[in-house]
Amino acid sequence: MRFVLALLACVACAHGAMSRQVASYDIKATLDTKTHIITGHEVLTWVNDSPDTVPALRLHLYMNAFSNSKSTFFRESGGQLRGDQFKGDEWGWIDIRKMELDDADLTGAIRFVHPDDNNADDRTVIEVPLPRPVKPGETIQVSIVFETKMPMVFARTGFHKDFYLGGQWFPKIGVWETAGFRYSTAGAWNCHQFHANSEFFANFGKYHIELTVPSPMVVGATGELKSRTESRGRTTYTFEQEDVTDFAWTAQPTYLREERMFLADKETTPQEVAAAAKLHGIPESEVRLSDVKMIALVQPEHREQMERHFASLRAALKWFGLWYGRYPYKTITVVDPPANAAGAGGMEYPTFITAGTFWKLPPESRLLEEVTVHEFGHQFWMQLVATNEFEESPLDEGFNTYSTSKVMDQVFNGMGELPLRFMGVNLWKLLGFPGLRSNSMNRAQYLLFPSGDNLLRPAWQYYNSTSYGINSYYKTGVALDTLEAHLGHDTMARVMRTYHQRWRFRHPTARDFQKVANEVSGQNLDWFFDQFFFGNRQLDYSVGDVINRQQRTPLGAVDRNGKRVVVTRKEAEAQDDKNDDNKNFKKQYECTVKVRRLGDAAVPVEVWIHFKDGGTEKRTWDGQYRWVKYTFLRGSEIDWVEVDPGRKYALDISYANNSWESDYNIRLSTSWTMQLLFWIQNISLWMTSLA
């Protein structure tokens, strides 16, 4: 099947393109800032690169998610997403005024469909039967006249005063999935409704967009700016980009716009390039990065944070590039949305990302860096490796969480501080709280809901939005940390690069990642994927009973020189007393350790048993039964026991019960109790002064 597809792919491969350009858009659009309406004309060029005959088209009308409270998006979200609430009456919608294929008018044939939930009030997906089906390999051009009303921004797209963020703003075709493509068993449209907890999925293509806005606007968008023409108070910006899956833009008159160059040879040392080439066994020329123009659009009140945006982009361009492959586009634009438009922040589009920060964000707090690196990371996990965000959100959010944490810990020494301030005073620093490591933050959030859902599920089918977040981001991050600890850093690095390179400009599934992991590691890792990616097993190993029993003189009828002799209790006790008094007598202990598996996940695990004489016994337990017992006859008692001493399984829900030591940690309990006492004394004294 894939062979057939590869042949057909040539149909979609434009000259010099890196991807199969299946869905390309040529749009002329004008923004009216009084009505917040975009009027546009779109020419959609769609290639049927499947062996199927396609009888109808399906398109996303994403903006209709914001048209009323009956849309699936609103029903699921209750009008609030990621902490931002929809307020006021500025709804959003999109209407198709006219739709034509060749000379046939399709407008009348458009009907709304609801493949995910049968919500008849949802108008985010349309189906258009074609006058004649699209043959395999055939290219069609659909002309669409549309009108988009921007909503008040609260979920990624919309406007706030004179700030605009245009995302999901034009009619966008779904993905035709032929049998064998991803999980598909028969040719069908993959065109999901707009859900609260879900992002998007699209084919690659070429975008040519002419956007006309009032001239005072400062504009940024996906791709390269090709031209800028002004006439009668309006400016038309022409942007172009090949090999991307979407197009977004922003406009605001007061943006501070600056550019910097990422110069690959300056940002990376020859040693770094050589090390990466050696690790992956590829020539250095393949590792070397390319120069990128970095553009930042920043709010005036965040002027002094301008360079922090560039520093974050530099770090991300460098490390994502060295680890997974060079960033292939010429530009990257980062947008800092204004106050009260945070819903537009923290979002990724091809070559165009939105971040977010606060006024006077202290440099010790790495929120700005984290969100910028994360959104940039989506250029690799979502854009270049274009997974289906509707159906497998961990593949974009989770892989990106894993990679982002690595960049943060490597370049910025973790997340730093949280901006805990009272009346401008930095309480975090004042109280001496420690810096935060990203992987520990990921684990902390994973522990809030460790196994209530399968890691992989359609985004709108998780238990709730918290579970969506925990599984899509943090649990996947922790699971990949676990996989890395299991495989070792170098093997994991090769797995990740191989997966990225093999699936760059394509649309893999979690099974494809599993295949690469098995292949590159040379191990069968199905046990890992089945339990933690496709299942919901909970991992919890624990040290159970630890018993040291001193060997006493045996009682009863025993064989002595071939004769049966009865050792009485009295005799045995006398012998024991004698032994106890004898300094040279070597005591023997029967030491028993039971290790338990409290969770339902079974993984091979190391167990170390350390004795007071300094010796250590190391065992590997397959974890198949609920517990295992180890018994030793030794001249000394057990000092400590540790399950998974290398802390490979970050997925284990309790580190505390993974070990046991004979000495009670009185230092810890004393100092923590006294610490707590101190705080309660203080609270109580505040109460006294108020009462």
């Binding site: 706030h160 005063k161 004179d162 007061t254 709010q299 204004p338 106050a339 009260n340 438009a341 006024w359 006077k360 009272f422 009346m423 401008g424 004042l430 109280l431 001496g432 420690p434 935060l436 520990s440 933050m441 684990r443 902390a444 522990l447 809030l448 460790p450 400590w640 540790e642 829900i653 309790s654 580190y655 505390a656 019960n657 993974n658 046991w660 030591e661 009670y664 940690n665 230092r667 810890l668 309990s669 004393t670 100092s671 923590w672 109790t673 006294m674 610490q675 707590l676 006492l677 101190f678 705080w679 309660i680 004394q681 203080n682 109580s684 004294l685 006294t688 002064s689 108020l690 009462a691």
Partner: protein, 321 residues
Amino acid sequence: MTVLQAIRGAAGRVALRKRMMVAYWFFHTLMAAFVAVPLAGVAVSNLGHSRYGAELARGFDLSWLVEVYFYLQGGPLAAILPMVLLAVFLLFLGSIFLSGGAVKMLVYDGPDYSPRMFYEGCGRYFWRFLRLTLYSMIFYGTALILQRILRKLADQAWGEGMEDHQLTIAGWVVSGITIVLFALVSTAMDYAKVRLVTDDSRKSLRAAFGSMRLVLTHLGKTMGVWLVLMVFLAVFAGLYLPLSNWLHGGGAGKILTLILVQQLYVFGRVWLRMMAWGAAVELDPFVRPKPLPPLEPVFVPVAPGPEPPEFLAGATAEPEV
């Protein structure tokens, strides 16, 4: 009487009551321990014999907090939460109880400390002070309402803007105002306690409102004392915080030193509390006019100190301020 005179006078009064302060600190600590020990016990119970404990002591890991929450969720947390809430409530009552004795001892400047007098004061004034606390809610409530109004106004002015610095600064200002308002009420309640003790009155409501008026009419003196005491607190905290950050995560010697330093800081705060009441006792006769015979003020001999409270008790009507 100036603010500094009041502070000096209060320091003298408090210096006479060292043993009482130790007792006050001791009972306070005991009550706090009732809350802290079971809480810490449960939290640390899964670490006592775990090697993870030593690791956490070296470098704290945030994820342990969630781990312990997850571990406690099943039962211990549900069992311990009502207990802790009850303990906090008892702590609250206990602190009111102790303040009765403390204020009495500070008002009475006779011979040295007698434990009996202290406990008598605790018992004698408990209900009046408790009522006083309830009445103080009226003022605290007003302060909170004012805070909300200010926040709303700020929100209306800048809440929907394109910039967040105005609202952030407004937030700081409102927080500052709220702190001052709370300080005002708390100072008034100090005066009310002193008044209830010196007059041996049971009229907590009148004391609350009278003292509020008193504080507002003598804002400079009363809040001046508060400000000076806040400077003391800032100095104590400024000494404590860097030292404690340095002592954290150390060996046994450092842990013991930290415990000592913490309790010294707590003792410093007990001293400040006593100073607040002591200063109120000092200022009370000067800011609260006594109903004296209006015609012959010259004949009143200048007393070396306020008359013993027993003399005043019931002898004068509630003074109107």
